[in-house]
Amino acid sequence: MTDFWAGRGILIKHCFFTCVMLVLIFAAPAVRADGTEIESFVLDNHMQVVVIPDHRAPIVTHMVWYRVGAADDPEGQSGLAHFLEHMLFKRTKTLPEGEFSRIVARNGGRHNAFTSADYTGYYQTVAADRLPLMMQLEADRMVNLELDEQDVLSERDVVLEERSMRIDNQPLALLREKMAAALFEEHPYGIPIIGWRRELEKLSLENVREFYRKYYNPANAILIVAGDVTPDQVRALAEKYYAPIPGTPVPERRRPPEPAQEAALRVEHRDERVQQPTWIRSYHAPSYSAGASHHAPALDVLSGLLGSGTTSLLYQKLVVEQKIAVAAGSNYNGTSYDPDTFLLYAIPRPGLAETPEEALKIVEQAVDQVIAEFLADQTDPGMWAEDLKRVKTRLVAEAVYARDSISTMAQIYGQALTTGSTIEDVQNWPQSIRTVTPEDVRAAAGYVLDLRKSVTGLLLPADGAQTGETP
């Protein structure tokens, strides 16, 4: 659906960058939730089940997550996990083409699916009494998918259009692709989830079938039901619909480890469509379940201090005090199966310098200055304690706010469980944030904000192009 005013900027300062960029990439720190009675159990076929009761409205979100994502794509077949996700909406041995969606719609449900580097998820949100039917459908396509050559050819075109829309039409997304490829030389986080165009164009029916057979079965899946149900109801239904499917051993997830980076990298993307430059830096960072994961809570707090919202250090220095940028901030992604990234960004104000290159140089120096002062412990101690407290309060409150949405809750648990965390990790998250000390934050910052382990990315207009800058 389009909006007549589609693509208009929305001026919400807290997500200024996100909104302006029209690409969903940066957001607040990873948030987890507490305060609900979660129940979890495992079926005999090794399918894990998580139930998150919420009886405020007679609806449920039913999700099946597979512990497989784009970072598990076979070499040379990038985009396969996501492509298979599309194919699951085709047909099965029992349902003709398109019937899955039609049934869900006819039952008043909304549904969709998503693929990340680490997981693939499918969901329906529907009136609570439709849960059995949703399980029947989801269990069916877990093992009964039927595909032919024609399905693959037409859907491949659809995915290529998706790539055009999400990546090729967005210069910033193209820069992000290059930066990821530079930062992760060996590890598949360097390969785009949607896949390289040249590889996507070649994905075959056989590729899809093989991937499906290998990864789609109950032992590799997690069922999450949130909403107006009881754990007993879910248990009975899961026994009926999912338990009869045999769980088969799933290959261990083994991605090539990323060798330690030793020198700072720089990449740039020049594009005739770019009207205004952007500066981004990504650092290698541990996640909640991989690498030096004890730093993870402190990194969430660090990202809050440095770059979330208008009170953060980067925004205050670059945007408010020095007036050289219109946006500046950070993002930490701690919910990953393997070590991931900590990111800083800045958008210079229009007309900051004669050339876009100079403008980026100015904001880069300013960011480096903020980081250097932070690492050298030159921050006012009183302010520092206040800031730390505020950031922690905000993060902990997010866990309560998250409970307002059954789909958010299901999402949080699904994401944690498919990336190597446990239910207890999610439930203890607020406490782990509360106990972060100033020393923890400094230590985490010192560990991660090391230029030698980073890639700096510059988004620039094409050489000699006229920019839209207005001094």
């Binding site: 389009t2 007549f4 693509g7 208009r8 900027g9 001026l11 302006v20 029209l22 990439i25 957001a27 607040a28 990873a30 609806i59 996501h82 003709p96 083409e97 398109g98 019937e99 969606s101 039609r102 049934i103 719609a105 006819r106 008043g108 969709n112 998503f114 990340s116 680490d118 009136a127 009494d129 859907e155 659809v158 259009e161 998706e162 055009s164 039409n169 986080y189 989830i193 005739e272 469509r273 009207q275 205004q276 205050q316 408010v320 219109v326 946006a327 919910t335 990234t341 958008i347 905000r394 409150a397 997010e398 706010y401 998250a402 307002d404 949405s405 789909s407 958010t408 999402q411 839209g468």
Partner: protein, 475 residues
């Protein structure tokens, strides 16, 4: 079906950013499907709260989770910004929480964050909207800060300049984005002499010219009680709420002073307008005159659109354009009602080589609907989806609060929520046939193409923009 970026927050959850849906195809109904839907009814227990100072709000109490979510809106919005002050509503919305009372921007934002209170304002075409979310234990502080923002915003020069730079940046960025480019061309061509044709974000010149006095006047003249609607959901009683509402809204002026607008019809030339833009894909926007929300044909039009291009998963357009031909990842249509008019509008993105084919196919589907109407099965499927999924619009406190203000803006009573499914169920095939002939005019659609398409010349449509012989003739 969406891509979850590895850098995406769990809360930016996939449900929000994956509205591009999936595939469809009609077919035989298997044994699975013999279900009749008894939709979950949206029985929303709304209390009307009227405060001692006469502020009215709709409240849905729920004490399960210790939070309160409030949405409120001042009707008016960007279309009422004077032509030489385009962008004013946007700037006001951006600055209300940038310092108030004796707190500058940083102090104000710090006060919010100290209690994890989320306060934000956004500017829309026909309203300025506010949103407040707080843990219930912090409600007094939350409403105190809201009261300051509404009644004593500082509009410090420093903050004004900062926001001005951000607004100018947004304008620049929009020139990079095919969807924004297409919207701008469409808007300007279709509404050449009405505020609907303008960009609510402003122009370079108007943004530069806005002054502090403009902001002050806007607050006094347009953030007024006669334009205000409020919806509250969560852990608060009517009595507690009444007191807090008076604190926040009781001091606002009674009546708005602003411009008067007249109804307008979309002017669509039955043409294709090309704007060349690099890339693999052509972004295509199309539309013509639609209808208003209170039009007696609204529900028939709404159900008809679901069948044509509204049901992302199961529409005719998704089926033919995406599913059968692999022409697009997303394709859809909608009716967009506005206070002074309405639009029927659609969009898709397709590879440059096949843009002409895609346009012809969409036209053909629309023509087919006008000539042949819809089948009984399609109508039933549309009804079961639209009625069955209605309850999903009430899934979070914020979503319920949005429904509460939406209904008030339309002048409905709370009983609307329980009746709405009836209105959908009463739609007949005959009505849809009549409404299709009244509202859909495939030959009068105006098409905007942003990209580098091939073969547009083959289309039997007037060529404008860079597709025309006299490039740029339309401007």
């Amino acid at each position: 079906m969406s891509i979850m970026k590895p850098l995406m927050n769990p809360l930016m959850n996939s449900l929000k950013n994956s509205s591009r849906l999936v595939l469809v195809i009609g077919g035989v109904i298997g044994g699975l499907l013999g279900l009749f839907l008894v939709p979950a009814r949206a029985d929303i227990p709304v209390q009307k709260v009227i405060t001692p100072l006469g502020i009215e709000a709709w409240l849905v109490e729920n004490h399960t989770i210790p939070l309160i979510s409030m949405k409120f809106a001042f009707q008016g919005g960007e279309v009422r910004d004077p032509v030489h002050k385009q962008g004013l509503s946007t700037m006001v919305a951006a600055l209300l929480d940038e310092g108030a009372g004796d707190m500058d921007a940083r102090a104000f934002q710090t006060a919010l964050e100290n209690k994890a209170i989320k306060l934000g304002f956004s500017s829309r075409r026909e309203r300025l909207e506010g949103s407040l979310k707080t843990l219930s234990e912090n409600r007094h502080e939350a409403f105190r800060l809201l009261s300051l923002a509404l009644n004593e915003p500082r509009f410090d020069q420093d903050a004004i300049e900062r926001i001005r730079q951000q607004m100018l940046t947004i304008l620049i960025r929009k020139q990079e984005d095919p969807g924004s480019i297409a919207s701008k061309i469409f808007r300007e061509m279709v509404y050449p002499e009405h505020p609907y044709g303008r960009d609510g974000d402003g122009t370079k010149d108007t943004i530069r010219a806005l002054t502090r006095d403009d902001l002050v006047a806007y607050r006094e003249e347009r953030l007024t009680r006669d334009r205000l609607v409020i919806g509250v959901v969560g852990d608060i009683t009517a009595q507690e709420l009444a007191e807090l509402l008076d604190l926040a809204f009781g001091r606002l002026a009674d009546e708005a002073i602003d411009g008067y607008l007249q109804d307008v019809k979309a002017k669509t030339p039955g043409a294709v307008y090309l704007h060349r833009h690099p890339g693999h894909q052509s972004t295509i926007l199309f539309g013509h005159q639609g209808l208003k929300r209170l039009d007696p044909d609204w529900y028939a039009a709404y159900v008809m659109n679901y069948i044509l291009g509204g049901g992302g998963l199961t529409s005719r357009l998704a089926e033919s354009v995406r599913e059968e031909k692999g022409l697009a990842y997303s394709v859809g249509t909608s009716f967009q009602p506005m206070e002074y008019g309405g639009l029927f509008i659609g969009s898709l993105g397709t590879q440059n080589e096949r843009a002409t084919e895609a346009i012809a196919l969409v036209q053909q589907e629309i023509r087919n609907l006008v000539e042949n109407g819809v089948s009984e099965e399609e109508l039933q499927d549309a009804k079961t989806y639209l009625t069955g999924s209605y309850a999903l619009n009430f899934a979070t406190s914020g979503a319920i609060a949005s429904q509460l203000i939406g209904a008030q803006i339309l002048g409905f009573e709370p009983s609307y929520f329980a009746r709405r499914n009836e209105y959908i169920n009463n739609v007949t095939r005959e009505q849809i046939g009549r409404v299709a002939r009244r509202l859909l005019h495939p030959d009068r659609l105006f098409w905007v193409v942003v990209g580098d398409p091939a073969g547009l010349d083959d289309l039997p449509l007037t060529k404008l923009g860079q597709a025309g012989k006299d490039a740029g003739a339309a401007h």
